[in-house]
Point group: D2
């Protein structure tokens, strides 16, 4: 699955490149889009997205991104016991700019860890990653 | 002209609504898109967007925006002597959520005020705003 | 009353100056500090700050601010019927960089407009602004 | 060395906690302060901070941070060949909320990798980390 993000002026810093903290925001955009498509998030219920708490993030920067760049973010997710792991690759055309991994647990609306519905888990469990992204 | 923005999770605050500072970022997105379509900004030349310095901003909030909302931003621009004035209306479907006005001057790459090419000015000068947006 | 803010690297943009949307964040910092000192906000109760919804913001930029600048923000607040009005002046040493005005209503925890306790109102009502900041 | 950050309203999200992308900003604040104290950054020369490009970031979240929290960030840095490695621990009083590691290279003003002055390197090389922070 993939997500596109056009780099905005306000996402740059005085080095003239995208500030590194914004990459976590781009990856969140891709993750939310993924969750929305999988049926985890309903945009009509504003709090439904609180289901994924962030346990860990890891980002590797290969090349900088610039104002106006159209970034393409590939994302893949899988379940790992009680956790969810997502990996990302960020591209500008055929240039690989960054990769990342984020680890999450699902929370209910009171911020308590929760199990996800069985049918969703089954769908995710089957995914095997052979290729290395990070 | 209009621009669309899907509200992201990271644009909300603990009140559960879009933080007010982000509206200026949405309006900038619309303004950059406007400038790009008018030929003022070339995405291939990263510094070309520095042409509009912000002199004044004014935002009126009518209703809050929420995570996942698809916002539509109408924008119109005109020249006022050495200044540029943009007005914006921000909608969620048929609900009017906010309006705004921003005032700018054009700067060259060394942050010095500059005149814009005559043909662009002529195009802008002709626009008259009868309707009130603010 | 006044508040100090050291400009961070991540608050700059590719023009090498502080992005204009961040000024609303600096003014919020000053407003929260003001509210905290007046007893409106209790840092131990995270949702107590939701009391001020933003109705309108207005910022005038006189000179840019740069990375590393130590900004001083003067703030004054007063009640205007059901509304609260704050005005701000932002300085770097003796240089006046920006001024602003924000208008608010008080909300309870369910985002419903509410009246503030009488003793607080009485304290605010007395303040008269003779000098022009904006 | 340590740095303090008071959590601002605009740094929270709709879960009522600090958005995870902001942690990279807090760590940058600590790193810039560290660099400033070591003589790497001169606040009077706005572009002097561009010396550290970000190669990799890694953050582990143990507990959430809330609006109004006074965070304390411990930082330590060392040279590793051509790279700089920083580690961070983030506390609220005696509660350990997060740890992180960021990897950097030094760049000159034209964004080219550069060697740092010998005397600074010598100072950094000597630091040995026995304790585990991550």
């Amino acid at each position: 699955m993939s997500w596109s993000h056009r780099v905005q002026f306000y996402e740059t810093d005085l080095m003239g490149i995208v500030h590194h903290s914004n990459y976590l925001r781009f990856f969140e955009e891709a993750r939310v889009d993924w969750a929305h498509r999988q049926g985890f998030i309903d945009y009509q219920k504003p709090k439904s997205a609180s289901h994924f708490a962030v346990l860990e993030t890891r980002v590797r920067h290969l090349k900088p991104a610039f104002f106006g760049d159209l970034l393409k973010i590939e994302i893949r997710g899988r379940q790992d016991g009680a956790k969810f792991i997502f990996q990302y690759r960020l591209w500008r055309d055929k240039e690989w700019l960054a990769s990342a991994e984020t680890t999450h647990v699902a929370l209910d609306e009171k911020l308590k860890p929760m199990r996800l519905p069985k049918d969703l888990c089954e769908k995710l469990e089957k995914e095997i990653w052979k290729e290395t992204w990070l």
